[in-house]
Amino acid sequence: MKSEIVKTLLTRILSSLLTLFLLVSFLFIIIRLSPGDPTDKYISAKLGSELSERIAEKFSLNQPVTDQYLSFVANAFSGDMGVSYNYRLPVFEVIWEYFSFTLVFASISFILQMYLSIWLALWVIKKRKKWLDKFVTNSSLFIYSIPAFVLGVALIYIFSVNLNLFPISGMKSLDYDDLSFFSQVLNKIHHLVLPLITLTAAGVALFYKYIKESMDDVLNQTFIINLRSSGVNENIILRKHVIPNALRPLISVAGVELGILLGGALITEVIFSLPGMGRLTVDSIFSRDYPLVIGCVFTAGAVMILANFLADIIKLKIDKRLVKGILN
């Protein structure tokens, strides 16, 4: 059993690396196919062919495409994505600064989504009202249908513009540096309430659908009936037996959901002008800072691959029967 798990893990790591490698190759192909080349930013055609050749040499554009490709892949894997045009810093450093925000922001939202959806499903099941079930299912579908930017803008309109409860945008107030540590934290939380609602709402609705369906499935199984007839407390049945069994399908969705979360974070960061990687991507596109754009896209892909890998490991930890299934 143990050697089988190790083998599974190794194969899984190899396939993740292969996916990462394909991603880098794919990025390279897209960049080479796109019109224009990186020297356009530095020289105009009027400056003479000799100069442009020298610059092309600096960019290694005169080397064969295969060599360019190999050095691109090698650089990408060693974390060297070039230098950002705007920040005049290595791309990796810039991204790291912004990425840490997105990581914290998305993680909080992810935990909230999980917690709220499970809590909601439990609440609905405990109430045992058919109309309530139907109502929550329908309204979760409705909430799921609200695009993040519509919800975000609506929240800004209601809570920031009309009620003046929360700030419209940004991460800290102007007087942030003068505040004590405690009120600095409060200030940040105050700024993050609306963005978190925006990012979390759709995810709760999506998770609710999956968790409710799988809880219903588990509740219909014989061992639950057995537990009930043995007089076990309903709360204990739900908490100890239903939730762990119902979580399994949720974890496989969670990997895919992370992609939605990163995409949602991109939009949310733009709406509320938060200093995250999504907004960095969009900003760098508009300022034509291509090394940074490519670095951001690569990071996003790498994070997704890593997250899917982790989700598989967690699944394996929960359910040893899955050793074979993960490889597919």
């Binding site: 292969l18 996916t19 394909l22 991603l23 794919f26 990025l27 897209i30 960049i31 796109s34 019109p35 329908n138 579908l141 409705f142 799921y144 249908s145 609200i146 695009p147 993040a148 930017f149 519509v150 803008v153 609506a154 800004i156 309109y157 513009v161 895919v256 992609g259 939605i260 990163l262 995409g263 991109l266 939009i267 733009v270 709406i271 991507t281 969009v282 596109i285 508009f286 291509y290 754009v293 490519i294 951001c296 896209v297 996003a300 892909g301 997704m304 691959i305 899917n308």
Partner: protein, 427 residues
């Protein structure tokens, strides 16, 4: 029978609503069609050069509009689903389809028309301004073609018309005095278009208000609907083609190709798609076509998976081997033997895909990477409305509502379709 309301009643209701509200406009379109036919006979070359996109659009939607009711009556037997019970999703779906088809009849206002900013800027819903038109130089000996052009411009409004003046209010004395934001201007009566000596002054009504450039929000919303649906349909069809073909190849051939395609799908699935779309659009530029292509390319993975797994199981079945032995070509195998079997899950998937694509298009437009500024799109309307959020709630509310209802309709009808087409899921 609990409720007598059926889908067909809703269609008739919408049809009569449009017909009664836009009776005059429909008549204008009809006479335009007639005079265009006349022009085709008398002056064929200029008739063909005059044929613009908006003209074809208007003619087509007028013809479809006229044919709607007869067609539903003639094909009553075929269109049995029109006699099923009406619910909210179907009602909104039909509303969307009719907006898509009949946009020129619902609003002939040009979505880009902008004039007299001081008067029309950021008007709330249900407001109206006064409109009068300067006489243009009348040339009595116009050729047929020029006469037709003039006539068509009166019905299908161009995005720019110098002769129209919009004002808050006016006063008639020996001259016409009109007010634009407390500034009074004078104009000779004779220079205005008039009927029996009295200048024609109309009230221009803005149902949903105007945006920051004084453009009619209702017209923009109607045309934005068309953009969203066009992008959605185009991308879904593209995804369908890619997914079906790749899935068929991977399932039918197998081998190395299958492994490679699987890895490829893995990358696409393991990717926050919006980052990829944003990258491609940024590198290759964004236009209506490139948005459709990129969204189509980024959505085929789930279809691929469905088709591949179904093909793998169909391949073992007797009827399929028979068809192979009879000597059907690959395309025939795909279209006659496989598609009918897998159409149910594929259809459900396409409905969900459509809502995803509409959402993605709106999100891209919101980020400023959408179909470009030449078309009004829901997402770009919301993004420009966000700047005026303190002054003009309607700029966000209406496109946002349209988007939410569209997505909800497609999500819930996809769910319903899944239940109907997949009886195994029912308990």
């Amino acid at each position: 029978m609990k409720s007598g309301l059926k889908i067909i009643h809703w269609i008739y209701f919408l049809w009569f609503l449009i017909a009664s509200l836009r009776f005059q406009l429909a008549g204008d379109y009809l006479s335009l069609i007639v005079s265009y036919c006349g022009l085709l006979v008398t002056d064929l070359p200029s008739a063909i050069t005059m044929l613009s996109g908006s003209l074809i659009d208007a003619f087509l939607s007028m013809i479809i509009f006229l044919l709607t009711i007869p067609l539903t009556i003639i094909f009553k037997k075929r269109l049995q689903f029109l006699y099923s019970k009406l619910n909210f999703s179907f009602a909104f779906l039909i509303l969307l389809v009719s907006v898509f088809l009949f946009a020129p009849i619902i609003s002939n206002e040009n979505p880009e028309f902008s004039k007299n900013l001081s008067v029309t800027k950021l008007l709330p819903p249900f407001s109206s301004v006064k409109q009068f038109e300067l006489k243009s130089d009348i040339d009595n000996n116009l050729s047929d073609a020029e006469y037709f052009r003039k006539e068509s411009e009166e019905v299908i409004k161009p995005s720019f018309n110098d002769n129209i003046i919009l004002a808050d209010s006016f006063r008639l004395s020996d001259k016409v005095i009109y007010y634009q934001k407390n500034e009074a201007y004078e104009i000779e009566k004779e220079s205005l278009i008039s009927q029996t000596g009295v200048p024609v002054i109309e009230a221009k009504f803005y149902l949903l208000g105007t945006d920051e450039f004084g453009r009619d929000l209702f017209a923009r919303l109607i045309h934005g609907t068309r953009i969203s649906i066009t992008v959605g349909l185009g991308a879904v069809v593209l995804s369908f083609i890619i997914g079906i073909i790749l899935g068929f190849i991977a399932g039918y051939r197998g081998g190395l190709l299958d492994v490679l395609l699987n890895r490829f799908t893995e990358i696409f699935l393991a990717f926050p798609v919006i980052y990829l779309i944003v990258l491609i659009l940024a590198l290759f530029g964004s236009s209506l076509l490139s948005v459709i292509v990129v969204l189509g390319i980024s959505g085929w993975m789930s279809l691929f998976k469905i088709v591949k797994s179904e093909v793998l199981s169909i391949k073992q079945k007797d009827f399929f081997s028979t068809a192979e032995l009879v000597g059907l070509s690959k395309i025939q195998l795909l279209s006659r033997e496989i598609l009918p079997v897998i159409i149910a899950p594929v259809l459900v998937n396409m409905v969900f895909l459509f809502s995803n694509v509409v959402l993605a298009e709106a999100a891209l437009s919101y980020l400023g990477l959408g179909t470009g500024s030449s078309y009004p799109s829901w997402g770009s309307m919301i993004s420009s409305g966000q700047e005026y959020i303190t002054k003009a709630w309607w700029l966000i509310a209406f496109p946002g509502l349209g988007l939410i209802l569209t997505l909800y309709t497609f999500n819930s009808s996809g769910r319903m379709l899944g239940k109907v087409l997949n009886p195994r899921l029912k308990k």
